[in-house]
């Protein structure tokens, strides 16, 4: 029996260790007209996983660039051909002035894209978990990508219809589906959160946000509406530009405040999700704050700007570091009871996501 109730999570990623990998990836990608990107992603993941340690043993990423590449080719044939065909049909129908046909093509195209995105994300997650190993045991994901896509569609619809009020239900329902179908070895991760538990918090973020938007709109119309209509009547481009410019300027701090409020909510959501997850008797605690999340987002943006986008993978190190620093686990786990995940290794990797160029890492 190796039951253990004290656990540590560390992320040891460092910018200096990442730089040679990034540079070599860059050289190889240039040599192969970009085709190396699948292997480049794999190299980055191997590093990120290897530097994430739970109880002093690292995660291992066992996926390969070849799997990603083959998955991409497969998805490109199966999915991109109809996508391209519909795009072309749409363009041609538009050029020929066939409105009815264009609407049909556009509708089909929209539905395809809306469904494809969550399907691709879910399948990509399955591949990544399937290729994540700790102490020789694989992680895994059950469930159906199609059901996940339908859930995404349904809750997305609810959120839109309720002007955003249903957002916590959307967020938690999808998390419940993801975490509730996640395995380490042969044993599941449990999760029993509800959107309702977060509604109060969300309301405190939602109400001021909506209020600010309404107030801004009202203020803009009453204060500048008159001038705006006069300026547009007189075709006074200068005055028109000035008023619109002022409006845009006011929009920037407003968006910033809204982003901060959202971070404040999102941190609470992450703490809640961690608190509702379990593995055997293991319970998780997350202490992340809105400020930490906001700084993570801002810092990651700065990293991208300063490195001209090349440092994208360093933002993942920063994210993993914050996660390791704020997440802790306590409770009895009998690792001797955790046997190999019975899932076969899926043969090709996250092709759909790669073909749609999303989920870079």
């Amino acid at each position: 029996m190796t039951v253990r109730s004290q656990h540590q999570l560390h992320h040891l990623g460092r910018f200096g260790e990442l730089v040679p990998i990034i540079l070599l990836n860059l050289v190889y990608q240039m040599l192969t007209l970009g085709l190396y990107r699948f292997w480049a992603i794999t190299n980055i993941r191997r590093y990120l996983w290897a530097r994430t340690l739970f109880n002093d043993d690292p995660l291992e990423y066992t996926g390969t660039g070849k799997e990603l590449f083959l998955g991409f080719l497969l998805a490109a044939v199966v999915v991109l051909v109809p996508v391209f065909a519909l795009q072309y049909g749409l363009a041609l129908a538009n050029a020929a002035g066939e409105t009815a046909l264009a609407v049909v093509f556009g509708g089909l195209y929209g539905l395809l894209i809306v469904m494809l995105t969550p399907i691709a994300l879910y399948r990509a997650r399955r591949y990544r978990l399937n290729r994540t190993v700790w102490r020789g045991m694989r992680w895994g994901q059950s469930g159906s990508a199609m059901i996940y896509a339908l859930l995404t569609l349904w809750y997305g619809f609810l959120t839109v219809v309720t002007l955003g009020l249903a957002y916590p239900w959307q967020s938690i329902a999808l998390e419940r589906y993801r975490l509730g179908h996640t395995y380490f070895g042969n044993q599941p991760i449990g999760f029993d959160g509800t959107g309702r538990a977060l509604f109060g918090r969300w309301l405190k973020a939602w109400a001021p946000t909506v209020g600010v938007i309404l107030a801004f709109g009202l203020f803009a119309v009453t204060r500048y509406g008159q001038q705006l209509s006069v300026a547009s009547e007189n075709d006074d481009a200068e005055a028109l530009g000035l008023i619109i410019g002022l409006g845009m300027l006011a929009l920037v701090p407003m968006m910033l405040v809204m982003a901060m409020v959202f971070c404040w909510y999102k941190a609470a959501e992450l703490r809640y999700i961690a608190g509702q997850a379990r593995y055997q008797e293991l319970r998780f605690t997350c202490t992340v704050t809105g400020g930490q999340l906001a700084w993570l987002v801002i810092g990651n943006m700065l990293v991208r700007i300063v490195t001209l986008g090349l440092g994208g993978s360093y933002t993942l190190v920063r994210t993993a570091r914050l996660m390791a620093r704020t997440l802790s686990a306590e409770g009895a786990v009998d690792f001797d009871r955790v046997r190999q995940n019975p899932d076969e290794r899926t043969r090709t990797g996250e092709g759909l996501a790669a073909a749609l160029s999303m989920g870079e890492f």
Binding site: Y36, D57, Q340, S357
Partner: protein
């Protein structure tokens, strides 16, 4: 009881981990538990690094014989010894440099495939274009004509329009053509004419003004009709679509596709091969209609004479074969006059 180096060992059956002892035997490493029982014996050639080697950090190993088992070597001396053994065998490495040869080879292969597809595109475009139903091309062409002519001034001279349409109809009837043709004359000083998909022929007033005889106008008209009959515009569209597809494939970005297609839809220019083909077919259209065929070459010859050396080369010439070559290829044969003098005057006057 043997001495050994401290290691952590997971046997690959569970996620449990035990502290054990590592013994470096000849050709293999052995893992013993505290009582001296053998837990694993890994031949060096089966051993794989599970992570990069980092100074001061444990060495993490697996074996191809039991791929799920993990061994973590903690003692610096043992790490050095195992690393030396693995380096001596070679091939158990963990790194990116190993793949350089493959990377270069696949880069060349990708370039080759893309080049091959690009080269094959013109060959494939012709049969594909000819397989597109004429009705589709006409619908597309109508849409393009509407947007191409939206901001153009259309010449309203009715007699002139009638004279040109009569000329067009005589060529169509004499040749027994079953395509629909629509003639547009726009007020534009450029000496040019073009054909859109779906039978739309656009003559610019600059060309009508510059022409010395109705034979020349008939020649240009027959040339544009030939473009339409040979499906050149459809072929260009198919080619543009193919290039967009190829581009999207290589970059992995579908949006480049739509941009590529949109950009070329209204910007069709024909290749020299297309032009020579249209010349030949145009001359034969005129011959069958019993019209003089010298107009096209005399028109181009004069244009080159006028504009040959200055920078204001008419657009029509820039993508076209050299006029002298064209004139030599189609020296011209006399025929009936395409229209009466009075009609010709009304054509000349139609944009005033």
């Amino acid at each position: 009881m043997q001495d050994g180096f401290p290691v952590h060992f997971s046997d690959g059956r569970t996620a449990g981990r035990i502290s054990a002892l590592l013994v470096l035997a000849p050709g293999r490493l052995e893992v013993h538990d505290g009582t001296g029982r053998l837990l694993a014996g890994w031949r060096y050639r089966d051993v794989r690094l599970q992570d990069a080697i980092r100074p001061g950090e444990p060495l993490r190993l697996s074996s191809t014989a039991t791929p799920d088992a993990r061994l973590t070597v903690l003692h610096p001396q043992a790490i050095d010894e195992v690393t030396r053994q693995l380096t001596a065998i070679g091939g158990s490495g963990y790194g990116m440099w190993r793949s350089l040869g493959w990377v270069v080879a696949s880069g060349l292969a990708v370039a080759g495939v893309v080049w091959g597809l690009y080269a094959a595109l013109p060959l494939a475009a012709r049969p594909v274009a000819r397989a597109i139903p004429v009705a589709w091309e006409e619908q597309l062409g109508d849409g393009m004509a509407v947007s191409a002519l939206a901001d153009q001034k259309i010449c309203k001279g009715e007699d002139g329009q009638k004279a040109l349409e009569g000329l067009l109809a005589s060529i169509v009837t004499a040749n027994g053509l079953e395509r629909r043709f629509t003639l547009h004359v726009t007020a534009d000083k450029t000496v040019n004419a073009f054909a859109l998909p779906g039978g739309h022929i656009v003559l610019l007033s600059g060309l009508l003004n510059d022409a010395r005889s109705p034979d020349e106008v008939a020649g240009v008209m027959a040339h544009e009709m030939a473009h339409i009959l040979e499906r050149h515009a459809a072929e260009r569209l198919v080619r543009a679509a193919g290039v967009g597809l190829l581009l999207a494939w290589v970059t992995g970005d579908p949006s480049s596709l739509i941009a590529g297609a949109g950009g070329t839809l209204l910007n069709l220019s024909y290749s020299r091969g297309d032009e020579s083909e249209a010349d030949a077919r145009g001359v034969s259209l005129l011959e069958t209609a019993g019209l003089s065929t010298g107009g096209l070459s005399s028109f181009f010859l004069r244009l080159e004479e006028h504009h040959g050396k200055d920078s204001l080369v008419p657009q029509l010439l820039s993508t076209h074969p050299r006029a002298t070559d064209r004139a030599a290829a189609h020296p011209g044969r006399d025929g009936r006059k395409p229209m009466t003098d009075a009609q010709w005057q009304s054509v000349k006057a139609m944009c005033r």
